[in-house]
Structures are given as structure tokens and as C-alpha cells.
Symmetry: C2
Subunit: 383 residues, 2 copies
């Protein structure tokens, strides 16, 4: 099988053993709580306040590399770019976060470097996104030092980050040196949610995790990315490569409304170099949206960015747009989250994302192979 | 011009004179504050806490019917279904809200009944959405009485409502008699946002109204509709006709993720009769999204509802889907909000929404005419 037709998972998480130890030692969220259920030890992960159902059952699939490889084999995934799962280091003090970031980045490098070889290639099967100690009170030099560390670890191809920055969100000018360093190092920034929006929005009914996960998570990504656009971060750092979790949340569908609202606000409009929709063409989107219509739409929105490039012709045919837009979309699974409720050979959440890619109207074999893996090879400089 | 090719605006607001008087008399938001600027009286509307730039300038376009007709004439709009603008009666006590709802519904009936005749038809140019006194402490009988009033006012074709219900949101079982009565009366429910989400999400930067309007408003609509789905309201009231502001916000783009999250939560999944995506095919969406890709996508999502109808064939060709989905989409302007910053003949916000309809890939003349007005004639029983 040619490298270009490999299946690559760019949205797949791990709690590294060192991080698990920390979670097990804690008495408030985030934590892993071990109790006994039916006479057996029962590990529960609590990462949100007020977790429904006593937390999520967790097991070795969260920390054991062999389990990751087994999951990949079961689903035909050739290569994964693994990232620490939320909430990363957000809850730690600056000195703790810095120490642990440096340690976990080394741990992840080892996790990847000791992974199996990808058949008929010089690649390994695991690569990773490192962590920065993005917490209040951290010094810029500590952040830059960690970026430098990651850029020298050959299996780490980017970093994963949440939306809080060093306490004031990602539109904080204090992060400009961080964006500059990430841009210069060519590290991909994977923006991933954790906090959602204020839980009062979900009301009193017991809907389990549905509302914070289905809506809160994508809302958070949408807000963070919009704030980056409004702060001019993509104007100042045009080569920054930002990958958005969950296909960018709601940003594609709200992007023309965003452009219109900016148009009607002269203070904001005057700050930006481009129509808001232009910036969406500079972003990367995972294909974790569970439906083909969603994926096709994201591709359309990526491609229409060209309409807002000054001096370009107004329109391209819709079929061409959808094809071009696919280049910035990348398969992901969100493993080990969304496990099946019953024992099944393949996970429904994974099958749905693969079927979605396969069913996008207007995508041919080349586009599907690109989203399944070819685009990841390019984005992460694996070829 | 045949009735079917009329241009009909179903998302257009008014603060009726009686309501303006109330706003002028108030000392906290919502209010109209009159001061003097450059020697002239300057009316500012303050409807949100912490309004940027001292509030929005307001003038007769907010309350004067002649201004509404002038706006319609300028943009070629034949007929408008007018609704009170947010925040409606939400800030009043139950007795005040009830009295004012009954009065404003009579006022709006008169506003419409005395409007000009639509040429070569038996229709008027203005119809309306009434108001219910949806506030904490209101009795069910007061709500039912108001629905009965509206159903007897021949120019009122539905009601507009926010997302708070009688204090606990729209997934409150206490509203079941209201949904039943609205369903039975055949009144369209126009769900419109006002509160957004907690403003802490927007951060410290001055982005004017952009974030709460561009993101907060559609998030609120998305949450409210999702909570209605999760509460089984559409299972219990299958003929309820709900029209979503701003093309349903982010609901279409997050609907497959929503379905997946429900699938992974057995308690919630067992409550619902259908896959979450099925319900989107039962809703109506305004076409106030400012971009053709967004509108085409909403049509796709409406049409795919059929895939989740038990016993139906799995797929329809994408071109057919987009055509069918258009039947539940309706042109709107959001007038008198989003006025142009400079004096122009036509409002950019309106022109963009018309251009978007005209540019949807896969829509022919019939679909475009439907979204421009034909669908509204059917939905509001105007033919």
C-alpha cells in the first residue's frame, strides 16, 4: 500500500502513565477515582465538575500503548498522532506545569519512538503532540523553552492546547511570542476544548454528558478560534498552522454571520486584514463530525476562502470547491473516548467517521484518501 | 407577478409604540435612553447588560409602520411577517406580562390589518407573530388564554418566543399544555435568541457586539432546540411547527455529533423515538445566514432526516436532497437590526441574504422562489 493511502488518526488521546499517577493522587477533579464494583477494582475518570453517572469508566486503553496499537489494528489505522487528553496541565501551578510538561513531552517522545515501524516505510506508527505549560503565572521564557524542547523531539510534530492560554484566553497579546515560536518551529497547534460554556445553559434536566459534549465542546472551540481571528493572530502569524478539533465546532456554519457582524462594527472591522471567512481557509479541520454533510460543508467553507482573497476571481464551481477544501481536513477518532456501549469488533464512533468521509458528495478517491491520511502526511511533514 | 414568486420576509422585528413607551419609562435594561448629541435628541436602545458604545441608535424604523413599508419597498419585499423584537416580555412580572401580551397582540393585529393591500391578491402586506406572557409565575391558563386570543386574530399567524420559557427553559414539562395548544391552533412558533451564553466566554477584549451576536445568539438557539429534542417535545407534539432564527444557529453542523453523543448515553437514547438528525427534518429554518454554503448545507441536513425515518430507503441523491430540504427554509432580513453603516440604497445585510439564496449550488428557480416566499405562503397558510 502506498504511503498516500494509509489511514492516519490525528485526533486520538492518551493519559500517559506519569499523568495517570498524578490523577490518581488527586482529591478533586481532574482525578482518577478507584473504588470497588462487583468485587473488582473500578477506575473512574472525573474531568468535569458534576460528572454524571459517577464519572467515566477508564482502563488501560487510556494509558497503555499496546491498547492504542490494538485499537489501531482493529480499525485499520496505520499511524496515529497522539495527544494528551484534556484538561492537560491547566489545573497546576506554573512550576508544576513546567516540570510536568517537560517530563510528559519526553515520555511521549519515548512512547512514539518505541512504537512499531509502519510497514514498508521509514516511519513509526505513533507520533505525538506535545504540551506547553499554559497556566497563569508561567513565564514566556518557560513557554519558549518548552517549544524549543518539543521542536527537538523528532516524534513530536505539534502541540495540543486548550482555550485558556495563560488565563485570559488565546487572544491575549502575551501569547504573541508563543505563536511566533510555534510558527517558526513549524509545529502544528491542535486546538481542543475542555471547558465548554457555563453549565447554567444546560438547564435542570438530566441529559448525561450530551449537552456539554455535543454542544459545549464545539462552542468552546468556535469561541476560541473566533477570538483568535478578531485579535488579528492570523494576520500577525500567517504561517501558523492551527488544527481545530471536531471539524471546527460551529465556526464554519456561523462564519458568514460572523463576517456580517464584523462588517457592522467599524471598530472591529478596521482591525482585520480580511473578511472573517478568509481566515477559515487558512485553518485545518479534523474530520470528527460523524456525518458526510458536515464534512462536505466544511470543505466548501474552506474553499470559499478564496472568494475573499483580494484580486482573485469571484467564484469557483462548487464541485471544485469541495475538492480543494478537502485538503485541509484530516481523519480522527477521538479514541479512547466514545467507546461502544456493547462489545463490538469496531467502534461505532470510528466507523461513522470513516463512513462519513466515504460518503461526502463530490469527493472522489483522491479526496477521500487525502482526508483519510494523505493530508496528515503533508501537514505533519511525514513525507 | 404570481403569488408564488412574491418576496416574503419572515424575520423582521418591531417595537410597537406601546412597548416603546414602556422601554422609555424604564431605568434599567431593557430601555430606550434619550440624550442629546450634537444638539439633537439621540435615542439609544439598551437591551443587553454592558452594551458597547452606549447602546444602539434607534429611530422610527423600530416602531413606525410606514418605515417598515418603506424598507420593504426599497428591497422589493412584498409581504412581511412581523414579530416583536427581543427581549419581549421576559423582564416583567406575570400580571404585567399578561396584560401587555394581550394589548400588544391587539396592537399588532391592528398594525397588520391597516397595512396596505398586497397587489393582485386578497392579502395584506403585513402579518404578525404574537406574544405569550412567558415569565416565571404565569399560570398555564393565562398562557392558554393568550394562545386562544392570538388564534382568533386573523393577521397573527404564530408566536415568537425566547428560550427561557417560564423560567426553566423550553424543556420544562410545565409547557406541555402550551405546545399542545399551539399545535392544535396551527400557530407557527418562531424561536429567537436574546441571552446568548455567559459573557465570560467572550474574554476581556473589546469586540463590540460581535461575539454575543455572531456566536452567542446562535448558540442559544442551538441549545434551546436541542433541549426540546432531548425532552421529547417533538415526539409528543409531532405537528408542532417550530421556525428557528438564524438558520438554526449551529444545530445543523452539530447534529451528527449530537446523534453520536446521544448514542453513547443509554439513558438519553432510550428516551427518544428517533435519531437526533431525524428531528431536524421536522423544523423550519429562516435563511438568515448570510452565505450560500450555509443555506445549502441546512437544506442537506433537513433532507437527510429521511435517512433516519425507519423503513425508508437509505439515501437520496445529493441534488435531490438539497432541493427537498429547501422547502423548510424561508427568507428573512432581521430588520431593523444590522442597518448599513453608511447611507446606501439597499441594506448590505439584506442584499447578502438575497444573494445567498440566489447562489446556492443545486437550487433551481423553483427552490429559490420557494425560499424567497413560496414556502412562507404555505407555512403561514396564506394560500
Amino acid at each position: 500500500m502506498a504511503l498516500a493511502s494509509k489511514l492516519i488518526d490525528i485526533h486520538t488521546h492518551v493519559y500517559l502513565p506519569r499523568y495517570c499517577s498524578l490523577l490518581r493522587s488527586r482529591t478533586s477533579v481532574p482525578r482518577i477515582l478507584t473504588s470497588t464494583r462487583d468485587g473488582k477494582p473500578d477506575d473512574r475518570l472525573l474531568i468535569l465538575d458534576h460528572e454524571p453517572s459517577g464519572g467515566r469508566p477508564v482502563g488501560p486503553q487510556y494509558w497503555d500503548r499496546d491498547e492504542k496499537i490494538k485499537f489501531m489494528d482493529r480499525h485499520g489505522i496505520d499511524l496515529s498522532v497522539v495527544s494528551s487528553a484534556n484538561p492537560w496541565l491547566d489545573f497546576l501551578s506554573a512550576p508544576e506545569a513546567k516540570t510536568l510538561a517537560l517530563e510528559l513531552n519526553e515520555d511521549l517522545e519515548q512512547y512514539c519512538s518505541e512504537s512499531p515501524q509502519l510497514s514498508s516505510s521509514s516511519l513509526k506508527r505513533l507520533y505525538g503532540f506535545g504540551l506547553l505549560p499554559l497556566v497563569p503565572g508561567i513565564s514566556t521564557s518557560s513557554l519558549l523553552e518548552t517549544i524549543d524542547q518539543i521542536s527537538k523531539l523528532s516524534y513530536l510534530k505539534g502541540i495540543i492546547m486548550g482555550s485558556r492560554g495563560i488565563g485570559k484566553g488565546l487572544d491575549d497579546e502575551a501569547l504573541d511570542p508563543v505563536w511566533a515560536a510555534l510558527e517558526k518551529a513549524g509545529l502544528v497547534v491542535f486546538l481542543h476544548p475542555h471547558y465548554g460554556v457555563d453549565e447554567k445553559a444546560w438547564g435542570d434536566k438530566d441529559n448525561g454528558h450530551v449537552l456539554p459534549l455535543a454542544l459545549g465542546f464545539p462552542f468552546e472551540t468556535t469561541i476560541a478560534t473566533t477570538r483568535l481571528i478578531l485579535a488579528g493572530v492570523f494576520d500577525r502569524f500567517p504561517s501558523l498552522r492551527l488544527l481545530l478539533a471536531h471539524s471546527g465546532g460551529a465556526l464554519p456554519q456561523l462564519s458568514s454571520r460572523l463576517a456580517s457582524c464584523i462588517d457592522h462594527d467599524p471598530v472591529v472591522a478596521s482591525r482585520l486584514k480580511h473578511d472573517a471567512r478568509w481566515y477559515l481557509g487558512k485553518l485545518y479541520f479534523d474530520a470528527v463530525a460523524y456525518g458526510p454533510e458536515e464534512l462536505g460543508f466544511v470543505a466548501d467553507v474552506v474553499a470559499r476562502s478564496e472568494r475573499f482573497e483580494s484580486g482573485r476571481p469571484a467564484n469557483m464551481p462548487p464541485t471544485v470547491a469541495r475538492t480543494l477544501g478537502s485538503k485541509r481536513m484530516l481523519f480522527g477518532t477521538d479514541h479512547p473516548f466514545f467507546p461502544p456501549l456493547q462489545s463490538t469488533e469496531k467502534w461505532k464512533s470510528v466507523v461513522e467517521n470513516l463512513q462519513a468521509i466515504d460518503s461526502v458528495a463530490g469527493w472522489g478517491q483522491a479526496e477521500k484518501e487525502g482526508v483519510r491520511g494523505g493530508n496528515a502526511l503533508s501537514l505533519f511533514n511525514l513525507i
